[in-house]
Amino acid sequence: MVETPRPRRTFRRPSVIPGFGISFGYTLTCLGLIVLLPLAGLVVKASGLGLSGIWEVATDPRVASALRISFGVSAVAALVASVFGFLVAWVLTRYRFPGRKLVDAAVDLPFALPTAVAGIALASLYAPDGLLGAPLARLGIQAAYTPVGIFIAMVFIGLPFAVRTVQPLIAEIDREIEEASATLGATRRVTLTRVVLPPLIPAVLTGFALAFARGVGEYGSIIFIAGNLPYVSEIAPLLIVIKLSEFDYGGAAAIATIMLGISFLTLLAINLIQAWSRRRFGYV
């Protein structure tokens, strides 16, 4: 009696296409050496400090203040970016006007412009004698070298995220939904608030989260306009740089761990939002 051999369970589904071994191996090697190993180094350093060590660093007044500024201003900036980003996305998708395509391309400017260049440009614009800083000074608002400057820089960085996450969804809105709402007697305002906007909320939240995460970690665009005064306008990334120059690797690693932790939570929140949206609406 001959037994039919059981098929071997392989890692990948067999296929005739060659090159899996080498490409997969190379991918893992690069990923491991360049990304995972260094990040693991951070984890090792951070765990060396232990939760208590990290807590100690986090509660140091200067560190706590920097974290507050980074997260606080970023949250406000991401909010503003989300609101105006939604408006920009709406206008770009739903209306026709001359130069629309140009404006659409301009939205990606913060993506393309190197952070240092953006940083000095913003600093010179909002300096007390700058093009925008002077009129603001007359109104009694000092923009550069204060948290206001940080806010402006973070809005600059966060805007493309806010626009691009919500833009494709606005483009996909079925006009018939709006017509149906009108035939059922709803005014334009009611149609917008009850039918058009609610399904867009997950995307707006995602854009907010992305802008927030980006703002917290940003360095180059902010340090020129920020003023960098400890306890006043010093951001967490700058504090990391300072601690490294003082060879306080532990302190730097602790701050970095806190920031990464928040990034991770933000990513998690985004995924949860999208999963909920998929379940509820059948799409993301």
């Binding site: 018939e176 017509e179 009108a182 005014t187 609406f281």
Partner: protein, 348 residues
């Protein structure tokens, strides 16, 4: 649903999109309480007409009257029409119950019914569409046929003066379509509401409607009961659209129509003499001996369908003619046959 039904008058409506004229001076009277189908090929303007009635588009010329009142300038929100879209246009982020209640809740506070009343109406409508208990589900959890029923309930909830359906069953499977057709007729008989629906499916129009309005290229070709438009088509277009037909060159002479010199039973329209076009349905053709035949040709193929023999014949000019014959004899391909004309319609 206790509202008296409204008659709709479409008066000399014309509409042009960009440079293409979509509706030409079209007039039609829809009787109160009737279920009328707008039938026509794509591009005939039927959906445009429906949207103009609803107020989703505005006519370039002409008027729309609801029960004698000029509604042409009225914005869609105030026309109290119930519109059912081909792809349902349900609000995906709202439950079935909220969808149905939408029209009632969207009203100004002063005109809004009480919460309990809204709930009651939604419940009644869910029963009417046979989806009781589905109120908490979301559109993504429903099948196509169920979604369409919810779309209808949503439109009915606001007690519209007229119900407008745009190819309501176009996106559904054949069996679901059949079931929903029957169900729509039942609902209409129960509510007695004036209903206008658009379709390109002639079976659907003929089965459902009290009257059928045939449109072609922006013009009204004919309006009448399903029997009338089939038996007395007013034009070649209507004839060709509502079933197969063959166009035959003929001569009107002495009150009769002759083909190839032989007389047919078809009477010539009064006063018409000379060359005419005769349109013949497959069941009006009969296989015959060459000396009694009006047309001749060779058999291309033949097959049985639904108890009848269907024979495809190619005539001398290479044209294909379809013949329906109850004769049990099968004909081999290439067999020469003669065809006798037993009836038909004359146009142009």
């Amino acid at each position: 649903m206790d509202r008296p039904s409204t008659a709709i008058r479409i008066e000399a409506v014309s509409k042009t999109f960009d440079t293409a004229a979509v509706l030409h001076d079209l007039s039609l009277d829809v009787r109160a309480g009737e279920l009328i189908g707008l039938l026509g090929p794509s591009g005939s303007g039927k959906t445009t007409l429906l949207r103009i009635i609803a107020g989703l588009d505005a006519p370039d010329r002409g008027r729309i009257l609801f029960g004698g009142d000029d509604a042409t300038g009225l914005p869609v929100q105030e026309r109290a029409v119930g519109f059912v879209f081909q792809h349902y246009a349900l609000f995906k982020h709202m439950s079935v119950a909220d969808n149905i209640a939408y029209g009632l809740n969207a009203r100004r506070r002063a005109d809004r019914p009480a919460k309990a009343e809204v709930k009651r109406r939604v419940g009644d409508l869910l029963d009417l569409i046979r989806l009781s208990g589905f109120g908490d589900r979301y559109p993504s959890q429903l099948s196509g046929g169920q979604r369409q029923r919810v779309a209808l309930a949503r439109a009915l909830a606001v007690e519209p003066r007229v119900l407008l359906l745009d190819e309501p069953f176009g996106a559904l499977d054949a069996q679901v379509r059949k079931d929903l057709r029957r169900w729509l007729r039942e609902i209409h008989d129960r509510t007695g509401q004036t209903t206008i629906f658009v379709t390109h499916d002639q079976d659907e129009a003929l089965e459902l409607s009290d009257r059928v309005a045939v449109l072609d290229r922006g013009r009204l070709e004919q309006v009448g009961t399903p029997d009338e438009v089939q038996e007395n088509p007013a034009s070649a277009t209507v004839m060709k659209f509502l079933g197969d037909s063959v166009e035959v060159e003929a001569i009107a002479e002495g009150g009769r129509v002759r083909v190839r010199g032989r007389e047919t039973p078809v009477a010539a329209p009064p006063g018409v003499i000379g060359p005419v076009k005769l349109y013949v349905r497959p069941w009006q053709l009969q296989l015959a001996e060459p000396d009694a035949a009006h047309l001749s040709g060779t058999v291309r193929s033949s097959y049985r369908t639904q108890g009848r023999q269907r024979i495809e014949v190619v005539d001398a000019e290479g044209r294909g003619l379809a013949v329906e014959d109850f004769d049990g004899v099968r004909y081999a391909a290439g067999h020469p046959v003669g065809l006798r004309i037993n009836g038909g319609h004359v146009f142009g």
